[in-house]
Amino acid sequence: MNIEHLYRQVIMEHYKSPKNKGFVADNSYLTIHLNNPSCGDEMTVQLKVVDHVITDIKHQGTGCSICCSSASVMSETLKGKSMDDAMKIIHEFYELIKGYPYDKEILVGDAVVYQGVAQFPARVKCATLAWKATEQGINKIKEDELNG
């Protein structure tokens, strides 16, 4: 285990200057709230989807640097993607976090710096909390579409 593999400069920059942070008071966004029960961290993600495309993502939460930075990276990675593509990317991110081989054509950008998390099993939940919230949101939107 090497601490430098976990706390990369990119991660700490997203922690200090997060992208897409803050709420919008707009009910065209779907809001998802998740807790990390082991440490009391919480994360709220807002999604705006137009014609199956995620046109905007906002996030707000309290948590460690891994959790909060990961929300920022998630929002940058998935904004502008179709829901189906976003689900594929989320899946590859989970593979990366578990230390499994991941598809380098699907998962690109800052998200890959979380590869080091695999060496720190206690931090997997932190790194994935915001991604889980978005995954839940996409599933909810798809379910609502099916049910008319």
Binding site: I3, Y7, Q9, C39, G40, D41, G63, A122, R123
Partner: protein, 401 residues
Amino acid sequence: MIDVDRIRKDFPIYSKQPNLIYLDSAASSLKVSSVIDKIDNYYQTLGVNVHRGAYDLAYEATRLYEEARETVSEFIHAKNEEIIFTRGTTSSLNMIAGSYRNILKPGDEIITSELEHHSSLLPWMVTAKHTGAKLVYIPLNEEGRITVDAFQSVLSDRTKVVALTHVSNALGFLTQIKEITKLAHEKKAVVILDAAQSAPHMKLDVVDLDVDFMAFSGHKMFGPSGVGVLFGKEALLNLLEPFEYGGEMADEVYKDHATWKDAPLRFEAGTPVISGAIGLAEAIRYINKIGFDSIHAHTHALQQYTLEKMSHIEGLAIYNASSENPVITFNINDIHPHDIATMLDQYHVSVRAGHHCAQLVNKFLGVSSTLRASFHIYNSYADCDAFVASVIAAKNFFEGF
């Protein structure tokens, strides 16, 4: 005087993990080899049920199990009939709160506090919902302590239950439970004490404290996990409905009704935690051999030594410098406790980060989480030094970005 090197020979984990700096005993203590041996011996040489068989092995298993009960009752100055073996503090407290769902009425009041561990709070929150009784919180003082005066301010003729922590798991503060119990009894309320954190650190005397029910766990006092104790005054226990129904708790069974045995068997339905009880008794013998005076002197000295060293670190907030139990709860600037804990782990320092299953404490402190270092007899001054050095290293690391 505690000789840490000698003590560590009793804890086999140190031979497997020689670099271990274990500062999370408030969550669970390390385990003593004599306890492990006793449990192993039960499974290797007996392994049969208690109270049931008319053969030698069953008799011997029963003897060891009941001897364990006697060891526990002597440990807290109770009668054998007042000691119920459970799965742990959480189980014990749920059992009592569950029983009071048949007793409490709308308008009755249950006094509790924001210092409670969730296992002392949530069972009563649910009992209040079921019965229409009201949860009443003792206002904590500025430091976060329960005071006798504040207790008195919420005590009334409506008070039926007082369910409090003896020592806060998050902050280590000791509740003046003897004085509180005396006042509660004047109002004919029952007192239920969560002694999970006090049992590993101080002499508990249920006659002196006069509490009506008390719960603690084996795994925080060098014993095995999966076993705990519920103490209840004999007269009160036999008025309560059993919590579970099954083998060995019924007196006579008919087609349409049954009668129950007296405590403790009334509350020990099914095959009990036999090996756990035997292990817990051995843990108590180990504690008795060392003595609470030595345990307190050693852990208190470590706590004070560490507090002094920490006072030189800039940006450190310590929430419980006056705590009676050897627990230090803190934060460093606005660096998240989980980030610090991961860094400390790199130095083999094990501490707790989070809300410690006491979310109301964090809400009281106005923080989302904290770090907690807790000490026991196997900790050394070198552990304290390594801990403080790792805290400084973590602070420097995260402030470097």
